[in-house]
């Protein structure tokens, strides 16, 4: 019997489809080359398999003859393979030089020759299936399940990912190796796709004796019931007699790192469970070494959602350039045709590669990296996230410049150190008072809060890039001392967090209310117009202003402006500018307007187009002198003014 240990494709495939026609279970021919299907490989990757990953399970036996037939039929003789006979590998001499065998990945070599006899027996011994169940509301857990499956192949496992929705509860006991990855929804509830299975398992209580499992739970620690769905499954599996091979991992909103830790520890552990369901813990170190050999390769691949392909756009790219050595700036203009679905970063990369290699910009992670911000056609955007078709139409101009408000280092690269130092100085991180609260499964203390507060906090912190948020403020570029909305929002978010300690809250409020804090923002409408992040920030910081006004009893120019604006509207239904100027500016401010030329500009008629001169005279002479044309010194009341007064009295009696 012919057993193929590994098969791979060398270069120069002519894509004749012969191999695919003979053995479609192993070969697939793409536009440029034939490839070895992931399903028949230990590493679960789809490529030419030049790394020499071994054949998975019994595929080398099942398709051995056909692979040989395909290699023989290949007109350019690029299908190479190794045969296995009684555990020894026989390299096909003419196609596999010794150097290539030596360069093969550790994992592949281990299958054939490495590792102890016990490990060999474990890896080659029958059923190596692994069930990965996910409970997912937004897709995060599903994504992690897919990634986990990719990595599981490194440990000689044959993983299958199952959506909990529609999963047969009676079959749980058949999966001797089970990993569960689940998020928690709402206040400790199961995700929608897991609810039915949870109810069934709870009702039927099937015996899970002989099942080995581990759980990765995703949640948000700002909720009372942090990761409850995961801990519920943990308790249920133990209750039904399953064997927990690794501690349940609790992941907060930044779940990548703790998931990585879990998968690095839980996978080799569960891979040590043999066919009978016994955990061979003595083989753990060997299994870890075995699995780490091809780890990097296994996580490679495109896990991002597919993009909708759009037609090419012919546009003119206008690109800001700055050379610090020459202290010279200017604009490059480049005519280009780009796919509409390409991101701004894709375009910049193309320019860098094909037009000018000296172009400097910050690269992102293709998923909204906070530091990839640029200004494009007046919008502040993340270059690695926003598509060109969202910014310009066919034949249009795409004007790309650095983010405003930050010093430019070179071309589109700005210096974020001012943001970092401001954030460091503002200390927006948690400093909780000691408290008697709940504890997490890992023993660390956890504060509690109302669900509404948790929702508010979550919404306020749901900002893609705080660095970008800084640049949304038009004031930020004109006031170097202004802390900026990105910093202030983080501070305010911490202030309203009930877990924050009193002394920290006081310090944060003092910082927010300082001269360079929330009052330094001249116009929140400039922030609010930038989509949800801008609206979130401007709304939250407006609330911060309200709290400060209350705590300072409307003192200072800002307090006086709000107080007298409100009062003048309440008194007449209209704004009385005379009152405002007098109360907010005061005599010194009014006098300065005279010396600064504001009054003269009014009086000499440079500002208006033909209004009666009396108005100018009135503005200059009558109080408040020097502030310009105030033709209606005392407002008349609007009709039905009492309705306005009633509105004030019903809603806010402070005015």
């Amino acid at each position: 019997m012919t057993i193929v240990a590994k098969v791979w494709i060398e270069e120069d495939c002519i894509t004749c489809d012969a191999c695919q026609d003979i053995c479609p279970e192993v070969f697939i021919v793409s536009d440029d080359t034939s490839k070895i299907l992931a399903a028949v490989r230990m590493d679960g990757v789809l490529d030419r398999n030049v790394g020499g990953a071994a054949m998975a399970g019994s595929t080398g036996t099942d398709y051995g003859e056909m692979i040989l037939e395909a290699a023989e039929a290949c007109p350019v003789e690029i299908i190479k393979f190794e045969l296995q006979t009684d555990g020894a590998v026989e390299t096909v001499a003419e196609v596999a030089p010794a150097a290539e065998v030596a360069a093969a990945p550790a994992a592949a070599v281990a299958v054939a020759t490495g590792g102890s006899d016990e490990l060999q027996a474990l890896l080659g011994g029958g059923d190596r299936s692994l069930a990965i169940l996910f409970g997912s509301q937004t897709g995060n857990a599903a994504g992690l399940a897919e990634k986990t499956a990719k990595l599981a192949a490194n440990y000689g496992l044959v993983p299958t990912v199952y959506d909990m929705d529609g999963f047969d509860p009676a079959s749980l006991a058949q999966h001797k190796r089970t990993l569960i990855i689940t998020s928690t929804w709402g206040e400790g509830e199961m995700p929608d796709n897991a609810e039915s299975l949870w109810q069934s398992v709870s009702a039927q209580a099937p015996s899970l004796s002989g099942v080995s499992f581990s759980i990765c739970a995703i949640g948000d620690s700002s909720y009372d019931e942090f990761c409850k769905a995961g801990t519920d499954w943990d308790e249920k599996y133990v209750e039904l007699g399953a064997n927990k091979v690794h501690t349940t991992q609790l992941c907060d909103v930044d779940f990548d790192t703790p998931w990585g830790q879990w998968v690095a520890e839980a996978l080799p552990m569960i891979a040590c469970v043999d066919e009978s369901g016994t955990l061979q813990e003595v083989l753990l170190d060997e299994m870890i070494a075995y699995g780490s050999g091809s780890g990097e390769e296994a996580v490679e691949g495109d896990f991002t959602p597919g993009v909708i392909v759009q037609e090419d756009l012919s546009i003119t790219l206008s690109l800001f350039r700055y050379c610090p050595e020459a202290a010279d700036s200017g604009w490059d203009t480049i005519a280009c045709a780009v796919p509409g679905h390409a991101t701004v970063e894709d375009l910049l990369l193309a320019v860098q590669q094909d037009v000018d290699g000296s172009l400097a910009f910050r690269r992102g992670n293709s998923n909204g990296s906070p530091t990839s911000g640029v200004r494009v056609n007046g919008r502040t955007v993340l270059a690695d996230l926003v598509q060109i078709s969202d910014l310009v139409n066919e034949g249009g101009v795409l004007k790309v410049e650095p983010l405003p408000g930050y010093p430019v280092v070179r071309d589109l690269v700005v210096d974020y150190s001012s943001y970092e130092s401001s954030r460091s100085a503002s200390e927006p991180w948690m400093k909780a008072d000691p408290r008697d609260g709940h504890t997490l499964l890992n023993g660390s203390a956890m504060g509690t809060m109302e669900a509404a507060t948790a929702l508010t906090l979550h919404a306020m912190g749901d900002v893609v890039s705080f660095q970008l948020l800084q640049s949304m403020s038009d004031t930020f570029a004109y006031d170097s001392d202004y802390m900026g909305p990105g910093i202030l929002l983080q501070q305010w978010n911490r202030c309203v967090d009930p877990r924050t300690g009193e002394s920290q809250r006081d310090a944060l409020m003092a910082s927010i209310g300082s001269e360079h804090g929330v009052w330094a923002e001249t116009d929140f409408t400039s922030v609010a117009r930038y989509g949800s992040d801008g609206r979130t920030a401007s709304k939250a910081l407006n609330t911060a202003r309200g709290k400060l006004l209350n705590s300072t009893n409307y003192s200072g120019p800002h307090g006086r402006l709000v107080k007298w604006y409100g009062r003048s509207v309440k008194w007449s239904g209209n704004v009385n500018e005379t009152t405002l100027y007098r109360q907010v500016l005061g005599p010194v401010g009014l006098l300065s307007n005279i010396f600064d030329g504001v009054s003269a500009r009014m009086f000499l008629g440079f500002t208006r187009t033909g209004a009666p001169p009396f108005r100018s005279l009135q503005a200059l002479l009558a109080p408040p002198a020097g502030i310009g044309k105030i033709p209606n010194m005392i407002n008349s009341k609007v009709v039905a003014h009492h309705e306005v007064v009633s509105l004030f009295n019903e809603i806010d009696q402070r005015f």
């Binding site: 056609n377 009052w519 409408t525 709000v562 209209n574 187009t609 502030i627």
Partner: protein, 286 residues
């Protein structure tokens, strides 16, 4: 047949910026727009009252919108800030129905009306371009502008949902209108940048620097004058331009006029004022 719409002058048109009020009536008459006064309408809070009580500001705005709605009309305003504020309340009511009901209950108790989301806010600029049409405006021109005009939009209404079908970040409506009125639009970068108008009385230097940046950018781009879509920002750009120039050390002297004035002048109203403006723009320069 005249197009009917309710008129909300905003906070400044009937106070410091009376020239806007002078011009809006004749220009609307020329273009067949019938303005209906809302004498009960109050100030919209100017985003100042909102700092203390967002609910109170929303209630003031909802009451104004309800007054127009009771006549079956949309609201026309000449002020970008007022338009932005009305759009804020309209959006808030759409997004949070329970909040809308709560505020409406108060407005109903105090004024006997409520806002049901039917009456919408329209800025003069969007109304002219989208409803009246540039063709009709062009046909009505008597005194073509024949000036290089920079359009100032500000930030208040330049967001999705508040600027009609115009691009929020690279708008062209005002440039199209300037062209229709016989002027030459001047492109410059800062046409949507805020000049910090809400903080004119409370924050000095940054507001002046922002004002100076807009003025000098327009001037260095070749503009003879700036036309503003915002009555509130008008005060920064106009009354405070010499002070802004001193603080920022930039050349900022330039005539400023409101959108309503520009349209009225081109349509043949106040030829004496227009002559004075041309003299200032082309001879005096500021």
């Amino acid at each position: 047949m005249a197009v009917k719409i309710a008129y909300y002058p905003g906070n400044a048109a009937r106070a410091a910026s009376s020239e806007v009020e002078d011009c809006i009536q004749p220009l609307c008459k020329t273009l067949g727009i019938q303005l209906t006064e809302i004498p009960k309408a109050s100030s919209d809070g100017g985003n100042i009252i909102k700092q203390s009580s967002p609910k109170l500001q929303h209630a003031l705005v909802a009451r104004n919108l309800a007054l127009a709605e009771s006549k079956g009309l949309d609201v026309l305003t000449t002020c970008a800030t007022s338009h932005g504020i009305m759009c804020d309340t309209i959006d808030e009511f759409k997004e949070d129905r329970s909040f809308a009901n709560h505020v409406n209950n108060i407005v109903a108790r105090t004024s006997g009306i409520e806002y049901n989301g039917e009456s919408q806010s329209r800025h003069l600029l969007h109304f002219l371009v989208e409803e009246i049409g540039l063709e009709k405006v062009r046909d009505a021109v008597i005194n073509p502008l024949r000036l290089n005009v920079a359009a100032y939009y500000g930030s208040s209404m330049q967001r999705s949902g508040a600027c009609g079908d115009d691009d929020p970040f690279m708008p062209t409506y005002m440039e199209q209108l300037i062209t229709a009125l016989g002027g030459t639009p001047v492109e410059y970068d800062l046409k949507c940048q805020s000049v910090g108008a809400p903080s004119l009385l409370t924050i000095n230097k940054p507001v002046m620097r922002m004002t100076a940046a807009v003025l000098s950018d327009a001037k260095s781009s070749g503009a003879d004058l700036i036309v503003s879509a915002c009555t509130i920002s008008h005060a920064n750009l106009d009354s405070y331009q010499s002070k802004a120039g001193k603080i920022a050390r930039k050349d900022t002297t330039m005539p400023i006029l409101h959108l309503a004035e520009m349209v009225a002048f081109a349509l043949g109203h106040y030829p004496d004022r227009f002559a004075q403006l041309r003299t200032r723009a082309l001879v005096i320069g500021g």
